[in-house]
């Protein structure tokens, strides 16, 4: 079995009449890290809620581990973990109690060694006796992760796991998530930090206004839509781009003082071409005083895509 989750035509219209999901089709492969990206209100949390039993779908089917979620929820939910977006839990409990509680709630007997392992891996062991309300926000989020891991789920949902977490903790969390994948856990996470998706995700899905706009391998998106941009600051203004450089995708800036290269893909091909370009510039006698070179990132791709989708939506 390759697909761990198969969602078909999933729809949700809330009681107030607002439609948050408009027929979502999504397939998650076993063992992957899948990043769900989308602007605020796109329907990410609703989608996760529908799989985890917090939201009642108004249409569509959800199959997990090859079985229908609606019919076999009791068995399937044991294998699914959820770290919610909101820091919502009994704040008066101690760290270790709340993690033990989660384990028991999912039908597993006590296992102090495993719980210790989880708490240590999240640097919570020293804080195990503290009451949750005495912890900082980032620490509370780790406790929620520990709770979700307490029953060793095969499929883990992380709804904005690094929201409000400082850079160091965030990197640390990325390591945790990678470690989980090593153990064979399939992970679906939502995030607003595109860097995060770029860094960790095998595949990226973009959701907007309740529809999945695109699902692709992170590497492929980068390769297909990634660009290298190099700006050469010229020593003397140029009237036109010399003919000898016609083979390069070059544009002369309006002040004629800089030459802009935009090309390549997200795999480094652009950088190599810029290197060739530097030689060609010297060979043609074009002098420059500075080079500014950078790769477009997923963030730009994402923003572009959404703007594109918006324009399409308005045109339709």
């Amino acid at each position: 079995m390759q697909n761990i989750l198969e969602i078909e035509g999933l729809a949700k219209t809330y009681d107030g009449g607002f439609t948050a999901l408009r027929g979502v089709d999504l397939t998650i492969r076993k063992g992957e890290i899948f990043a769900l990206l989308g602007p605020n209100g796109a329907g990410k949390t609703t989608l996760i809620g529908a799989v985890c039993g917090l939201v009642q779908p108004t249409g569509g089917t959800i199959r997990a581990f090859g079985e229908d979620m609606g019919r076999h929820w009791r068995r399937l939910r044991r294998r699914i973990g959820l770290v919610p977006q909101e820091l919502s839990t009994d704040m008066f409990d101690s760290v270790i109690n709340t993690v033990n509680y989660s384990r028991g709630l999912f039908g597993l007997g006590p296992d102090p060694d495993r719980v210790e392992e989880i708490l240590r891996s999240l640097s919570l062991w020293d804080k195990r006796k503290e009451s949750l309300r005495a912890l900082s926000g980032g620490m509370k989020r780790r406790v929620l992760i520990a709770k979700a891991l307490a029953h060793d789920p095969d499929l883990l949902f992380l709804d904005e796991p690094t929201a409000g977490v400082d850079v160091e903790l965030r990197r640390d969390m990325w390591r945790q998530i990678s470690a989980l994948r090593e153990r064979g856990t399939t992970i679906i996470l939502t995030t607003h930090y595109i860097e995060e998706a770029e860094e960790m995700a095998d595949r990226v899905g973009i959701i907007q206004a309740g529809r999945i706009r695109m699902v692709e391998e992170t590497r492929e998106i980068m390769a297909r839509l990634g660009r290298t941009e190099a700006v050469f600051t010229l020593a003397q203004p140029l009237e036109v781009v010399p003919e000898a450089l016609d083979s390069f995708p070059l544009v002369l800036a309006s002040d004629r003082l800089s030459l802009v290269y935009r090309g390549g893909d997200g795999t480094g091909q652009g950088k190599a071409e810029v290197a060739r370009l530097t030689k060609a510039l010297i060979a043609t006698g074009v002098d420059y005083t500075a080079i500014d070179i950078r790769e477009s990132n997923l963030e730009e791709i994402f923003v572009n895509l959404l703007e594109h989708a918006d324009a399409e939506g308005e045109a339709a």
Partner: protein, 257 residues
């Protein structure tokens, strides 16, 4: 495929009891104190001048079952209500909804814990009452059974209340505005036979009358109504609550969005 996760239910049950211990002052001491005040005022201080209407039962002893019922009903209702309202309020309910637990585990866990608290409270009240009034129990096994039944029924009722409520006020409102006054007027302090008409007939519409009388029969073997009527009404109420909760779980009403 199992239909009941005993471990999950047990986990909820333990967790709820632990929460009660953390708030022991509120869940045990406060109701105990207010019940004792009734015993002191009505039983010990004024009781000597009052006639219970039952041969061989002092007034102080007469009011024991009613006062016990008064505390049991309001405590069971609010325990049952807060047990489920709190996680709804904090959002912690997400974990319950995403766990492999359904109607049965949730009921056994939450309502079982609420009923257990009521039982403990009842035992403490009965023990403490001994210091103020001299009473005896004719049918101890029935007392235990009836207390259990009533605690479970009203914990279930409270559970429904806790799912229905949208604010803390609403959770507190029903026990304070309905359960408590109706029990108070339901023959806790007098036999409804002493009421003049039309009050007597009006009193018969009050369901608490039958509960108070049922428990009084278990204590002293006499009551205004046949005990079977009390038992049947309590069982009917219990069944109704279970049905409503089953329906709530099937539809996800106010639990899932």
């Amino acid at each position: 495929m199992s239909l009941f996760n005993a471990r999950s239910a047990w986990t909820i049950y333990k967790h709820e009891l632990a929460r009660a211990l953390r708030t022991a002052l509120q869940s045990i001491i406060a109701p105990l104190l207010s019940t004792m005040l009734y015993f002191v005022v009505f039983g010990a201080a004024m009781g000597g001048r009052m006639d219970s209407g039952l041969a061989g039962v002092s007034y102080g002893a007469f009011i024991v079952p009613g006062l016990l019922m008064l505390t049991l009903l309001s405590e069971s209702t609010s325990n049952g209500a807060f047990g489920i309202y709190m996680p709804r309020f904090t959002g912690a309910i997400f974990e319950l909804l995403s766990a492999p637990v359904g109607f049965a585990e949730t009921l056994v866990g939450f309502v079982g814990a609420a009923a257990t608290k009521s039982l403990v409270l009842a035992a403490i009240i009965l023990g403490t009452a001994r210091f103020f009034v001299d009473y005896s129990i004719v049918h101890p096994v029935f007392v235990l059974g009836f207390i259990l039944l009533v605690s479970a029924s009203f914990s279930l009722f409270g559970f429904i209340l806790g799912i229905w409520a949208r604010s803390f006020e609403q959770v507190g409102m029903v026990p304070a505005l309905f359960v408590m006054p109706l029990t108070f007027l339901g023959g806790t302090f007098y036999s409804i036979d002493v009421l003049p008409e039309p009050w007597r007939s009006i009193a018969l519409v009050n369901p608490m009358v039958y509960l108070v009388n049922g428990l009084r029969w278990c204590f002293y073997d006499t009551a205004d109504f046949p005990v079977m009527l009390s038992l049947a009404m309590t069982l009917g109420f219990l069944a109704l609550c279970v049905l409503i909760i089953a329906r709530i779980f099937a539809t996800g009403w106010r639990l899932r969005s």
